[in-house]
């Protein structure tokens, strides 16, 4: 999932002084930012960010509150203009060609804004009309979207009668109403119960399977780890690292912990450097030592470990 850019794994571990740096180029990128900066007076919300989101990926943008994720998304979504640097979304500059970008991008902000006095189908029809989709296409479009987000049975229900999870799915359907190639989702799982989160994750995977690029910000790192092919980690407006999580971990020199449980009930923890090391450990235990291994689990915190290694808890 990580070989999106000319067959090469793109991993960037950036030191602040190295920014802005080189980023992968070409039409294979859904989003490309170079030296992207957004200042509000003296506050630097996004600081010389270089970002490359490969097409067809599920790209997670991770960072603590105030890291600049939502500001970055707002610049992608044509809502904010960068103070410096440039950004291209599906090959177009959002600040110069907002309507071109809006046609190709679906944006779901972190706030759950819905019209309570509309029915579910009317809500989607309103946004279909707002994107200039002909009325004749609405019934089929709305039906298809509601099937996709599993809200078909709620088609004529009032929006205010939906649960939070259903409203989130409805918002996602709204972002999909014009069939965009790129989805920008700001904290879509926030406030959802575990079942709704799982359902949302499955839905995003299905959408990715349909060829859509998904850029997602979330605080739930474990979820992103399962879902994202690529991540970018931000703190205090700066991009700290970007690329497939495992690759970033390796570049950081992070060793993995492997917990092994044996048939006699004992358990041991081993440290390995990489996949090859992990494979040789397993071979040694099973083949050479002839031990009865019943469980062999990588214990590393994954994205969480990565996140904790890179960030310092700086709040702007």
């Amino acid at each position: 999932m990580s070989e999106h850019v000319d067959g090469e794994v793109m991993v960037e571990l950036l030191e602040p002084e190295e920014l802005p740096g080189e980023v992968a180029d070409g039409p294979e990128l859904a989003v490309r930012a170079t030296g992207l900066t957004k200042r509000y007076g003296t506050l630097v919300a996004v600081d010389r960010m270089d970002l490359a989101v490969p097409r067809g990926s599920i790209f997670g943008l991770i960072g603590p509150n105030g890291a600049g994720k939502s500001t970055t998304f707002a610049m992608m979504a044509t809502l904010l203009r960068p103070t410096a640097g440039s950004i291209e979304v599906m090959g177009a500059n959002p600040a110069h060609k907002p309507r071109t970008v809006r046609r190709r991008m679906g944006y779901m902000p972190d706030s759950l804004g819905v019209y309570d006095n509309l029915r579910v189908d009317e809500y989607l029809e309103f946004f279909a009309a707002s994107y200039g989709i002909p009325r004749a296409e609405w019934p089929e479009l709305v039906g298809g979207l509601l099937e996709l987000v599993d809200l078909a049975v709620k088609r004529t229900a009032m929006v205010n009668s939906l649960s939070r999870g259903m409203k989130q799915r409805l918002s996602l359907a709204r972002a999909l109403v014009h069939d965009p190639e790129l989805l920008v989702l700001d904290e879509p799982a926030s406030g959802l119960d575990p079942r709704a989160r799982v359902e949302l994750r499955e839905l995003l995977r299905s959408l990715n399977g349909m060829g859509k690029t998904i850029v997602i910000a979330s605080h739930i790192l474990a979820e992103l780890e399962e879902m994202c092919s690529d991540v970018a980690i931000m703190e205090a407006g700066r991009l700290l690292a970007s690329g497939p999580p495992r690759q970033i971990l390796q570049q950081l020199g992070g060793a993995r912990s492997i917990r092994v449980r044996f048939a006699d009930g004992t358990a041991e923890t081993f440290t390995v450097a990489d996949d090859a090391d992990q494979a040789s450990l397993l071979r040694r235990l099973v083949v050479d030592d002839e031990r009865d291994v019943v469980e062999f689990i990588e214990e590393s915190g994954g994205l969480e470990q990565l996140f904790m290694s890179l960030t310092e808890g700086i709040v702007q």
């Binding site: 044509t78 809502l79 309507r99 991008m105 944006y107 006095n117 309103f126 200039g132 009325r135």
Partner: protein
């Protein structure tokens, strides 16, 4: 394709019971006005089989209904329209709307049209009440229609102003307070300035100069009062007639503008649009022109406010 914002607004408005409550209250107050005026005149023996007095009652009823109708419209518009855009911000629905292909002006136009449509519905519902006074006579149909049309136009301009104001606040409550404050200024500021300047003038010792009549002309009540001048000038006193007299007086005095205080007399001439001379425009024309300019300016600013920061900086 119909403006999506308009279609959605109308659907939402008519779905809630609020719209019907407003129409009900509006009609009830108009009917109460007719009843009270009719009863008041009857108790003083005004209408006893006297055709002249009956037509006078018809005229009075019509003017009272028109006055109350306009007052109610000015009262209801802020309540109904103030949340137009502030409501979108408050419930966080503006952002998803801004990233669609709708242009900011389409959003504002949809909001204003929705407010206007409801007002037109309100005023159409009130037509039967107006017909009662027409049946009694006392004014020509054309004068009656002119008055109603003036109320509709003033209501449309007022709706535009209030919807535009709504773009500058984030909370419906703030927007509503702002809208009522603005409406009070629209109605009272001009006459108050006129009176204040008149007092200042007399204390100055130059009683020959008067404040410019444009101050009283750009006012919803003045517009409606002035446009219905045609039929009669006699009969029982009523608020609309009093306003009409005030506007007429201001027009008559306007030839000696308050601005004649200044050394260059031609400065004052610029403010003598409203006068009784052959070149003077009727007060309602100046009033409507002033309100249209104000509404247009506010709508332009609101459209700018509705653009995303990225579009504003472009």
């Amino acid at each position: 394709m119909i403006n999506p914002v308009l279609a959605r607004e109308l659907r939402e408005r008519m779905r809630t019971g609020r719209a019907f409550v407003v129409i009900g209250v509006f009609l009830a107050l108009l009917i109460l006005t007719v009843f009270l005026v009719y009863q008041g005149r009857q108790s003083t023996g005004v209408i006893e089989f006297d055709l002249a007095r009956q037509t006078q009652l018809g005229r009075d009823l019509y003017e009272w209904v028109l006055f109350v109708m306009l007052a109610l419209v000015l009262f209801f518009v802020p309540g109904l329209t103030a949340g137009a855009i502030a409501g979108e911000r408050e419930r966080q629905t503006l952002l998803p709307l801004q990233v669609t292909l709708l242009r900011p002006r389409s959003i504002l136009i949809g909001k204003v049209l929705a407010g206007m449509s409801f007002l037109v519905l309100l005023l159409v519902a009130a037509v039967p009440v107006t017909v009662v006074s027409y049946l009694l006579g006392g004014f020509r149909l054309i004068d009656g229609l002119k008055g109603l049309l003036a109320v509709v136009i003033v209501a449309i301009l007022h709706t535009t102003m209030v919807a535009s104001l709504s773009a500058f606040t984030r909370r419906v409550q703030t927007a509503t307070l702002l809208a009522y404050g603005f409406t009070a200024l629209l109605v009272l500021l001009g006459p108050l300035m006129y009176v204040t300047m008149g007092i200042a003038d007399s204390s100055h010792g130059n009683d020959q100069a008067n404040p410019p009549a444009v101050l009283v002309a750009v006012n919803p009540f003045s517009v409606v009062a002035d446009i219905t001048t045609g039929a009669t000038s006699t009969g029982e006193s009523n608020p609309l007639r009093a306003i009409r007299s005030g506007v007429a007086e201001a027009k008559a005095n306007n030839n000696d503008s308050w601005f004649a205080w200044f050394p260059e007399d031609d400065i004052g001439a610029r403010f003598r649009l409203v006068n009784d001379g052959p070149s003077g425009l009727p007060a309602w024309v100046v009033g409507l022109a002033g309100m249209t300019l104000l509404a247009g300016g506010m709508a332009a600013l609101a459209t700018r406010r509705l653009r995303t920061p990225a579009e504003v900086e472009r």
